[in-house]
Structure formats: C-alpha cells, structure tokens
Symmetry: C2
Subunit: 219 residues, 2 copies
Amino acid sequence: MKVIELKETITASNDRDAEVLRTELKAQKTLLVNLMASPGAGKTTLLERTIRDLGKQYRIAVMEADVDSDVDAKRIEMLGAKAVQAHTGGMCHMDAGMTRRALEELNAPDADLVVLENVGNLICPAEFDTGAGKNVMLLSVPEGDDKPLKYPLMFTTSDVLIITKTDVMPYFDFDLARCKERAKKLNPRIEIFAVSSKTGDGMDAWEAWLSNAIDSWKH
Amino acid sequence: MKVIELKETITASNDRDAEVLRTELKAQKTLLVNLMASPGAGKTTLLERTIRDLGKQYRIAVMEADVDSDVDAKRIEMLGAKAVQAHTGGMCHMDAGMTRRALEELNAPDADLVVLENVGNLICPAEFDTGAGKNVMLLSVPEGDDKPLKYPLMFTTSDVLIITKTDVMPYFDFDLARCKERAKKLNPRIEIFAVSSKTGDGMDAWEAWLSNAIDSWKH
C-alpha cells in the first residue's frame, strides 16, 4: 500500500480540471464516487461492508484521504481491494488535481468503481469538485438531525445522503423523518438511505443504488 | 440574540493579533475558552450543562460560530446566558480577528468566562490561534478512538480533551485507555476528562478544572 504526500493544486480552475477528469473517467468506464462526512461518521466501515457485498461483482479500488495516518487504507487492503493512502499535508479537503495525482498512484485503470474517501470534514470537501461522477455524504445518528441546518452546502452538493449507525437510534435523540425533510428542503433531488453497516440493515437499498450507478456510468 | 456575518481577517499576523487579544482579556479578567470538536460531538450540550452547574458562581457568556443557522445560540439563551451567533461565511474556522469582532458584538466586558464554540471541524480550527486563554477539544465516543492518529494537530494544540457521550460506551467499540494513550503520546501535558453531559457522569472533574482555570486567570 502506498502513502503519498499531496499539496493543493495551484490553479484558479479547479472546476475545469474536475470536468476534464470526469470526462476521462467516463471514457475509461470508471465511476469515481466522492465519499464525504464528519470524522467518525462510519465512512470506512460502510466501505468495508460495501466491498464485501459487491466486490465479486465489480472491480473496486479505494483512495483514502487523511491529514495523517494510514489506518483506513490498511483496513481496505485487508479485504483484498486495491487501496492508496493520500496525505493532504494538513489540508481539509481534496481538489481535482490532488484526486488526479492519487488516481495515478492507485493505478487501477480497469476498475468499475473507485471510491475517494475524502478527509473527515462537513465543510471544506463540499467546496471542491474532485471530478467524481457521484457525490455521496454520510451523516451518523450520533451527530444529530440538526446538521443540515448548520452545514447546508454539503447536503446541497451531494447526490446521495446515507444516514449511518441506525442501530444506535434508540440511544440518541435523532428524528429520522425531520432529518430527511431538512435535507430534501436543501436538495429536493437527494437520494436518502438509512443504514447500519454493523447489522447490515438498509445496506441492500444503498448497494442497489450503487450497482445501478456503476452500470449506468458505462453507457 | 445577534447574528453577525464574519469574514476572514486579512492579516499575515494572526498569531500576533491573538497574543494582543489574550493580553487584553487577561487585563479584563475574562477567561476565553476556545471549544473545538467535530460536528455533533456534543459541544452545545456540554456547554448547557456547564452553564447550569456553574452559572450562579460565574458570569458566563457564549459566542457560537457556525457556517449557518442560529440553533446553538438560541439553546444557550434559553439558559439565560448572554450569547451571540457568528456566521463564518463558509469558513471552516475562527481566527483572532473574527473572535475580536464577535467579542465586540457579545459586549460582555464583565464576564468571568467567555466560551467560543468554534465551527464543527477537527482540522481547520486547530490551525488558528483565536486569542483564547485555554483550548479545549471534545471527542465523542461514537467517533472512535483512532481520531488522535488522523487529526493529530487538534490534540497537540489543546490544553484539555473531553471525551463525551460516555453513556453510549457499551454500544460502540471505543477503547478509552487506548484513546487516552494516543492523545498523551501527541501531547503529554493534555488534561483528559471523560463525561456524559446526559447523565452528568464525570462533569464534576471537568467543572472543577474549569473553575480553577477561571480563578487562576484573574491573577
């Protein structure tokens, strides 16, 4: 497993770079999913379960972005998936140039799906188009149902919201219907799934959506 | 309750500005505590309980910083404490200039304690000295005990680490001893408390530390 050190791309045209990267990935028939969430929302655990469930059907590779450490990439590699750990040099997000660099190091041109697990942060990653075909955000039950009010941009820019850790719902004051309503108000087209990566509850609906997205991306 | 719109201070000398602000607050005998954590780690709930417990003994005022919404400042005002909501204009942190602006709007020169509830984020706030006398960070049990490995700077720059939501410890794979060890390795002088703001467990030790910090600041 590689650990690479990244620096922010010096460019005023991140949006254009992202569009170019997206077009290249489309031609290559690789769907890039940008996975965003707070620290500890369960991004890696969701990924582990998703790779276990869909790993025989699709070639899946993962880019882990973090300020430091390589614990996440190691977890993914234990499942037999190709993984690379990117360090952002203190930066709170990935941009299109950094994503391109990480993709080069990952070197998985035949992958059906590449997941970029972005830096744990509900603010900065939403501001930078990475070139991903789909933006997926997680919100965990312990974080609270008021997060759409406080971090609106992340909800606005995501195609999918996955509400995670639903198994601990009884121990927290989390109103699922109210959370969904707040997210839909910001982004009426957002797809919402509620899952527990621990018990597997709700994973089938998320994985059906993801399979469909991978298949659609090839056409 | 006021809602103010802040913009990043255009200055190459945030550290110097922070030092000036800290000196002024010392002369004024007001301890400024910078409270930092991920979204949903329980900053506002800890604050509510702390104000309830210490609000008769000390004059406490609060500055809530968020990208959007005013839900937190409203919660604090319901306790009868002076509060101001600062919007960071999309920014992921508060700097010394923004903190000074918020303090002016708060207008609580006779406060013993002012708490700045920083933007929910484990990365950016650690990079900017706000002028606070003490930096306090929260890590909630659901986030996981690996966070010191991934977000080291926040642990390095904090005087205190409060591990929150200990009441849900039975439902999560969180090793308290391992988390403390990882934090101490990054910052041997960090004070660590483990609390549940819900049940009140562990609040006495944190509040004893805070009372002592407020009293010491006056001398």
